[in-house]
């Protein structure tokens, strides 16, 4: 079978009901997990179970159902804290997704801790989610936004990083830990040391990385770390903001409403302590519990085993794709994961995606929410194949075969 060492992909695929679906009469070959991953039975069951057996609003009722649901919801905060090795459960804020987490930081920390003229630095390979909120902060608050260059290989250009920080005005480095286009891992420990040595904090967009690598926010010394549940085999609608306790403590609220207050009168309200200060209104209870189940699922398999499986797949994919005439892979970073963007000489990315789809193969095509990066790479769009724990070597071979057919059509 398609196993790497003791990694039993065939057995794991049984955990994902959707993988049995046919698409246009063909077996589904799902190579778009970097956009959103499929869900294991354990996550689906956990969410159904909440609704069938254990549901009420959280943090409100003095009745059995509310207490049980509150416990289940808050237990996920402990799971997330352990999963990323946070120092305290109170450093875990639940949001809708990583995009909302970054917007929360930009809106509250950005407007309170930063002064007009302070600089936020991002890299050329950020997702729009880690670019647009900083543009909005710039326009509303008078901060400056600087862009750190990447090399042609798709790695951070260290000279550009040093130049960006040279005048001592950078107060935040906001950087991806793994590019959703190039698959590049960034050296976040080194970047955190660099930022801190220059008097700046670091925000890490961990959306892609957390699916493939063990995250340790304390070892990394991250000030902020964000991710979305839906890429980690959990449901959509739940995301996480980690921030160091001393930062969260002095951050003003984001949204106002129920659950985020200490006391309310017509004249004045006071705010709850973190994390609840940042969780106004009824949260995504069912989705949060789904995320807890996803973390349990990933932990049971083990990220080192998942990483080894995906590394073998990536190596295989890079080799077979390199054999396709006229196909060019974007990015050749030394440290890279299973997200591979490519273009073909005569076939546009959208035509590639449509033709592959007819063969049951799902890839992403477009700018991948990284339009400026497309400009930097000199393309308008790419096709992208991305891998997950359930991806097999045979699926990558099916992709290569499909791409050969595409090549022949446009030859």
């Amino acid at each position: 079978m398609s196993s790497t060492l003791d990694f039993n992909t065939a057995a794991l695929r049984e955990d994902f009901p959707i993988l049995k679906q046919k698409v246009h009469g063909k077996d589904l070959v799902f190579l778009d997990s970097a956009a959103s991953a499929q869900k294991p039975r354990a996550v689906i069951d956990a969410m159904v179970h909440v609704m069938e057996a254990q549901y009420a609003n959280v943090h409100r009722g003095l009745h059995y159902m509310s207490e049980k649901t509150s416990d289940a919801y808050e237990e996920v905060r402990d799971k997330v804290a352990a999963f990323i090795n946070a120092g305290s459960r109170d450093e875990i804020v639940f949001t809708r997704n990583a995009t909302e987490s970054i917007n929360l930081v930009a809106y509250t920390w950005g407007r309170s801790a930063l002064q007009p003229g302070d600089v936020i630095a991002v890299t050329e390979m950020e997702h729009h989610a880690n670019l647009v909120p900083w543009q909005m902060l710039r326009d509303a608050h008078g901060t400056e936004l600087r862009i750190i260059k990447i090399t042609d290989a798709g790695e951070i250009d260290w000279n550009s990083l040093e130049e960006t920080f040279a005048d001592g005005r950078v107060k935040l480095l906001a950087v991806t830990q793994m590019s959703n286009v190039l698959g590049t891992y960034t050296p976040v420990e080194r970047l955190a040391k660099f930022a801190h040595a220059h008097g700046a904090k670091i925000l890490i967009d961990g959306c892609q990385a957390i699916v493939h690598r063990k995250i340790d926010v304390r070892a990394t010394d991250a000030d902020f770390f964000v991710f979305s549940g839906h890429k980690l085999y959990g449901p959509s609608g739940i995301g996480v903001l980690y921030a160091k306790a001393e930062i969260l403590d002095v951050m003003p609220p984001f949204l106002g409403g129920g659950d985020m207050i200490a006391s309310v009168s017509y004249a004045k309200s006071t705010w709850a302590k973190p994390p609840h200060r940042f969780e106004a209104g009824t949260p995504a209870i069912i989705e949060t519990i789904g995320l807890g189940a996803a973390i349990d699922y990933v932990n049971a398999i083990g990220l080192p085993a998942i990483a080894a499986h995906e590394a073998a797949l990536t190596e295989h994919a890079l080799a077979v794709l390199a054999n396709i005439e006229g196909l060019r892979i974007l990015g050749t970073a030394q440290d890279r994961g299973g997200v591979i963007s490519f273009v073909m000489k005569d076939a546009h990315a959208h035509d590639i995606a449509t033709l592959l789809d007819r063969q049951g193969i799902a890839v992403r095509a477009g700018h991948h929410c990284a339009e400026p990066l497309m400009g930097r790479l000199g393309v308008t769009s790419t096709a992208r194949a991305s891998f997950a724990l359930y991806t097999t070597r045979e699926e990558i071979d099916a992709l290569a075969k499909g791409l050969e057919r595409v090549r022949k059509i446009f030859a």
Binding site: D346, H348, H350, D351, T354, R358, H367, T380, S381, I409
Partner: protein, 133 residues
Amino acid sequence: MSQLYEAIVLDRVKQPRHAGRPAQFDAQGQGANRLCGDRVSVYLTRDGTMVQHESEGCAIMVASADLMADATLGKTPAEIKDIFESFSHAVTTGTENPGLGELNALTAVSQFPSRIGCATLPWRALEEALQNV
């Protein structure tokens, strides 16, 4: 699997007949698909004797632009509007229309809902160009 990518479409992509920015024109219109980055400019003369396109994008968009130039050459704005309406109907429903000639090659796009916008993009640019005459 390649019903959409049949000979007429591929031929127009590989050897477009009406591609490029002309030295002289009376009006132009632009089309851009924010999702995929496709761009097209359409140029025409007031008397309708020249329709050219400058396309950067997928095969469906480029073929549609080139076949559109064929179909609309020498036509009045009112006639072009009618052809676009027929074409829109054909690519949305998948029903061929004898009056559309080679444009019928694109009716298979109806099976690919996310790509219908690719086929109609050059026509929107043409509409804009007609308004600019």
